[in-house]
């Protein structure tokens, strides 16, 4: 799948490469947060309400004198951690249920799809807020809540792919050869519908990061974890006095989500043979 054609198609897409650079930079920032900004991001590093570059703090300090730059670096960990883990969980659940529904069809399909619709009819954000409020905010409850609202569209997507692929000849051949259901699902069909899954997963990471930011903005984030949404949320009341407190974390959210979306688009284009050819022409 990731052959030279694909790589070339992806690299030719300038937006996608830009997105990849941004995402890579954020990942590096998260990985080396402890080296770049040693110490606790919650610690007071300078005088409160310090402007950018004051006290040697690149992005200034917040209302308790905490280093904004350090908060952004450490917040990148939380955002990426939540974005990735909740996506992994959602992909596992979504793929499994979608595959079962699409492969078996009939009653199983009906049951699973009605269950999926249940989740699709409730507005995502409202459901996340309710779940987190019930289980008290912590990293685990936030990951679970985000995963819970994210898997449904993926399940539908995978089901659709399975429905079309199931009647293909290679699947018929596998059945004739006597392969078991599990083998057919995971070895035959799934590899053939990986590209839409990868594309939507990359977009899901972006959505998850936005969801987490919104939660922390509302004060429903993990109170012990520094996060971008929390930084924006806590600084919004002093926006007129200290723009930098909410500006820089806001930019961090913007760039990350933009980067992930660009990568997702790029992947989509590169996976799609027709688009790939168009670009060549």
């Amino acid at each position: 799948m990731f052959n030279r054609d694909f790589t070339q198609a992806f690299l030719r897409n300038k937006g996608a490469v830009g997105g990849l650079v941004i995402v890579a930079a954020i990942i590096l920032l998260a990985l080396f947060a402890d080296l770049l900004f040693p110490g606790d991001p919650w610690d007071m590093a300078g005088a409160p309400f310090g402007h950018p570059f004051e006290d040697g703090l690149l992005f200034g300090s917040d209302m308790l004198g905490r280093d904004i730059a350090s908060g952004i670096a450490h917040g990148a960990r939380v955002s990426l951690l939540i974005g990735l883990t909740s996506t992994v969980v959602a992909v596992l659940v979504g793929v499994l249920l979608g595959a079962l529904a699409g492969f078996h069809g009939g009653r199983i399909d009906d049951a699973i799809m009605r269950f999926t619709e249940l989740f699709q009819t409730i507005p995502n954000f409202v459901l996340v807020v309710v779940i987190v409020a019930i289980f008290t905010p912590s990293l685990t409850s936030i990951v679970v809540a985000i995963a819970l609202v994210s898997w449904a569209p993926l399940a539908r997507l995978v089901r659709g792919e399975f429905l079309t692929l199931r009647s293909r000849e290679f699947v018929q051949a596998a059945i004739t050869c006597g392969q078991g259901n599990a083998t057919i699902i995971f070895r035959q069909i799934l590899p053939n519908c990986l590209s839409p899954i990868i594309v939507s997963a990359s977009l899901m990471v972006a959505t998850a990061i936005l969801l987490e930011s919104s939660l922390s903005f509302l004060g429903l984030g993990d109170p012990n974890a520094m996060s971008w949404g929390f930084m924006v949320g806590s600084a919004r009341t002093v926006l007129r006095q200290a723009w930098w407190m909410s500006f820089f974390p806001g930019v961090a959210i913007l760039l990350t989500v933009l980067g992930l979306n660009l990568v997702g688009e790029g992947l989509n284009d590169a996976f799609n043979p027709r688009l790939r050819r168009k670009r060549k022409a």
């Binding site: 919650w42 308790l64 806590s234």
Partner: protein, 536 residues
Amino acid sequence: MREPVRFLRRVAVAAAIACTAPILAAPLPAFAAETPVKGGTLTAIIQPEPPLLVMGLNQQAPTQTVAGKIYESLLTYNFDLSPRPSLAKAWDISADGLTYTFHLQTGVTWHDGQPFSAEDVLFSFKTFLPETHPRARALFGRAESIEAPDANTVVIKLKEPFPAFLQAFEVSTTPIMPKHIYEGTDFRANPKNATPIGTGPFMFDTWEKGSFIHLVANPHYWQAGKPYLKDIYFKIIPDAASRALALENGDVMQSQYNDIEPFDVARLAKLPNLTMTKKGYEFVAPVSWLELNTRVAPLDDKRFRQAMMYALDRKFVRDKIWFGLGRIATGPINSVTKYYDGDVKTYDYDPKKAIQLLDEMGLKPGADGVRATVKFMPLPYGETWQRLGEYVKQAMGKVGVKVELESTDAAGWGKREGNWDFDITSNFLYQYADPSIGVSRTYISSNIRKGVMFSNTMGYSNPEVDKLFEAAAKENDPKLRQEDYSKLQKLIVEDVPVAWLLEMEFPTLLNTRVHDAITTAIGVNETYADAWVSPK
């Protein structure tokens, strides 16, 4: 005790006051010398919108501010909490402290023209308030008898001496309700609740829900020639930025409590058309603290609690989190409450001393530098309290105590606080002028009551403190009372059942055209019979 929950939800406790102190000191007395002008209109912010305006049925902060103009009680209080006349023109207390005699004003009528008499007072104290108002119920539970020998006299006999009783006749504690309207009815369902009738200088006119409440001057008010104002508009403005703007451009002339976001107060106070005062909150005088559950290790050790006091830089808390609003508390009694004594052990910011105390307890740092872990559930009343939680976590972390923050919503917080389901939480309580009304409830062991919010939830018990509180509550001689209170303040400050933070202050912002508004310890809840607005 539910009032604070409402108006402090958004606790915006306020901004760099230091620089504005000269401004507020100067103009008020200067203007007081001028002659009042009749016929002005006052506009004030009211936020949030009160649920109803009948003071006997609801005592939330916004209700008090509006209904305080409509209803009156027997007394009101000077800034030093000494009583002064309202519906009672004079009063005497028998030498044994058991009999309180109130002589009522004459020629007082209700807003509907019916005459006011001692019968209304009796009805309010014996029937109406005990049914609807927990604080009043507790107070009148101390009465042996309440009688009216004639139409202008009320005599209350107490079961045992309770000198704080004289602090109970403030309008939110004991508003006088009209007997002719409520007698024999279901008080809460009375149709007249929509058009409240009182004896105050202002009468209810209209209430446009979600927009404004309009009160007009009472032409038959018992103080001849008053009120000076023609009418008052209370404007409901839910958005904080709009409130600031309305004050700024003169659309409204008054804000109180947390109407203005803390960081905005300093800016507004400096504007030429506004003045700011922190007076007028002496009666409620809240003190904020960290509530420490003394049933849980290591909080059960006095040395740990003292270490917390040393580890917290309360000056930082005041200046950076509360934007300069408040005074650093020295102990259980607010310095503006009666019988305060500042001669107690002091806990200045000193992390070294904290570490020393923790070492002494045998709490040595582990490999990760952590000596102990405690949980902290911040009061869910908005930003400021959240910042406090973050600060406490960092400050305690510096002396090796790991603090884990827990989030709750307002309902969950109340349940867990009342049921002792916490290690540390933040809180504040009103003191209501006298320690035996608003302070003892936090520290006496007989008030350790599971399921009751704002009781002795720490489980603090010191028999000597109990004895002193009991003796002081009954002591008629103010000197001996002071001795008891001084002693118990020393004991409590040594024990640190709560880690006191600040004596909270609130800003009242007034347009410079408004005069003589804040004249008593109940501030914006006063009748405003004396307030006036100068022409533009």
